[in-house]
Symmetry: C2
Subunit: 328 residues, 2 copies
DNA sequence: GAGTTTGTTGCATACGTATGCAAATGAAAG
DNA sequence: CTTTCATTTGCATACGTATGCAACAAACTC
């Protein structure tokens, strides 16, 4: 029942060889305009579509980009997913979506990516063991860590400049006269959380300013609970620096629950500038990650590496900018 | 450089034929325990992985599920994406993520799905022309419209029972003494919006209760703007029924911006019960879509159809339940 | 017009796996 | 030990495409 039209069928109808049909659909092959036209007409008539599997089998390539993601729930990554899908589609690539519920990408998921011989991989919001990264290198599959880092420069990475951003935020809060500060970090294994903490603390330590640090998990609930814990202890800090926006929203809600006024009684700064940060209910001051720019960098690198693999890795850091709203 | 270990290599090392190797990896083929063990050992040693493309070429099947989605930004669909990915992975399927920015799934996207000969398709948050649906039928590819309907029963569909839910909500608001009502709908072409409107209006018409209807677009900004428009007109309604939660949050923020107290001055009811509906900042009364149940239904149907195709379509409606919070 | 170059075409083969068929093996029965 | 039957194995081929090679045609060059 499943009618399957092959290049041979098209060839017969067009009165050419199967090779010629193949060449019509193969970028850069040499075919005359005349046969090309005849082939396309015949193909149209029969409803021919080249078989992806036969093609990939012989070329040992695919038009699939693997996208590894954990926190789809975080609006930041939802937007990332949307943009990547959109752009890669424009370039003729399809998206193999790999959801990983562990921080570290699992063997099973890696196998999937290798099985489909993906043209490239974007890992956002997850990490992987060093050896797994090497596996991709061995197979000449370009890989980008988006908004994450792994190791120290062995793998390509596109990030916001978390260090300078968090330093800036520290300075900003100090300039606002905030003396006692609270820092709420995200998943402690992620490079983003580590760096945002580092930059922030560096400045405070240098100026001998007191601060308390609480470890959370980059989720709304985490932010909410952590803020509650903070409030259970004696004194209300002058300001909170929260390692991402979604947690910051949780923090705000927890503070409000306790009738603490923002920004009068305390201040809150987030990180990411997700859409919700600008909602009237929150009006969160935050650091904007330049998503478009980061995605463009990522796509350009991948496409170049797919064209001709070098394996050269680089850590690219894009600045982003501070967005002041009503929580400070 | 790209070392490619084939079944032949494994066969040689294990001292068996390539066929035997193939049979070890093929579900339900007959191999003795002895050779199976030897093959697996050899495979392990060489790092063998069956070639997906060769396999699909010959079997004319794939282990890919196409997931078509538009509104990734809506937390409801983010959760749907996460759950589907997770469950299908458990069943050995990978996800081809197809993002469509048009309401109607484009030809290009359909081609992608057909090219990869997906085992099944889930369409959420998008619609497709009738003829495209037929195309999938022709190719015996099972298809489910998730939270959407197309036509009148020609295609399988898993939804919340929008009609009875919105009727229930209308009754509820009336019982709360709300006399003048406002209905804010979503994308007017979507079955969900149409049905939620229908059920709601039916009840009101029957009881000759006045209401105004505003058309919006299922986004936060849409809800916000629409509410602003409503407020520009003379009188504040006693309650809003908003066709989904994310819009309802926009409505709430717009009302608050105008210093309107909820639920004292007016009430708001949403639909979906996304996580944010329970956030302290909103505490939105809403109708809970039984996501888990809907997903389970969808997956079961697809797996069954993949096993043995019948093409039988059914419209499955799951009830869900009312969740009363503080906006009513 | 013979020779040279450029561009196009078909033939034949290869990619790595699944599978029908026949051969071979092993177990069970007599 | 022979016969029967069930199970396992290898051989050979097919899936639909890309591509090296040789053949061919056309267009120039001298």
């Amino acid at each position: 029942m499943r009618e399957t039209v092959t290049a041979k069928d098209v060839a017969k109808l067009a009165g050419v060889s199967q090779s010629s049909v193949s060449r019509v659909y193969f970028e850069g092959a040499s075919v005359s305009e005349k046969t090309k036209k005849r082939v396309l007409e015949a193909a149209e008539e029969l409803g021919y579509r080249p078989n992806v599997y036969a093609r990939s089998l012989i070329t040992n390539q695919s038009n699939i980009i693997g996208l590894v993601m954990k926190g789809v729930q975080n609006p930041f990554y939802a937007q990332v997913l949307k943009r990547f899908s959109s752009i890669f589609k424009q370039h003729g690539y399809s998206i193999l979506f790999v959801y990983t519920n562990n921080d570290e990408i699992q063997k099973e998921d890696v196998e999937t990516l290798l099985n489909y011989n993906v043209a490239g991989v974007v890992v956002t919001d997850a990490t992987m063991s060093f050896s797994v990264g090497e596996e991709f290198k061995k197979n000449h599959i370009p890989l980008v860590f988006f908004n994450r880092k792994l190791g120290t420069g062995e793998f390509h990475s596109v990030c916001c400049n978390n260090l300078s951003a968090s330093r800036w935020i520290a300075q900003y809060l100090l300039s606002k006269g905030a003396s006692e500060l609270v820092l709420i970090t995200g998943d402690e294994h992620t490079s983003t959380s580590i760096e945002r903490e580092k930059g922030f603390c560096e400045v405070l330590d240098q100026q001998r300013i007191a601060y308390r640090k609480y470890n959370s998990d980059y989720t709304y609930e985490g932010g909410y609970q952590t803020a509650m814990t903070v409030l259970e202890e004696k004194q209300l800090p002058a300001a909170f620096f929260v390692a991402n926006d979604i947690m910051a929203l949780g923090v705000i809600d927890a503070l409000r629950k306790n009738d603490i006024r923002i920004p009068q009684d305390t201040k809150v700064v987030g990180f990411d500038n997700i859409e919700m940060a600008s909602w009237p209910a929150y009006e969160l001051t935050t650091w904007e990650q330049p998503i478009e720019e980061m995605i463009e960098e990522t796509v350009n690198y991948l496409l170049a590496e797919i064209m001709s693999y070098t394996g050269l890795a680089q850590i690219i850091e894009v600045d982003g900018k501070f967005v002041e709203r009503k929580t400070t």
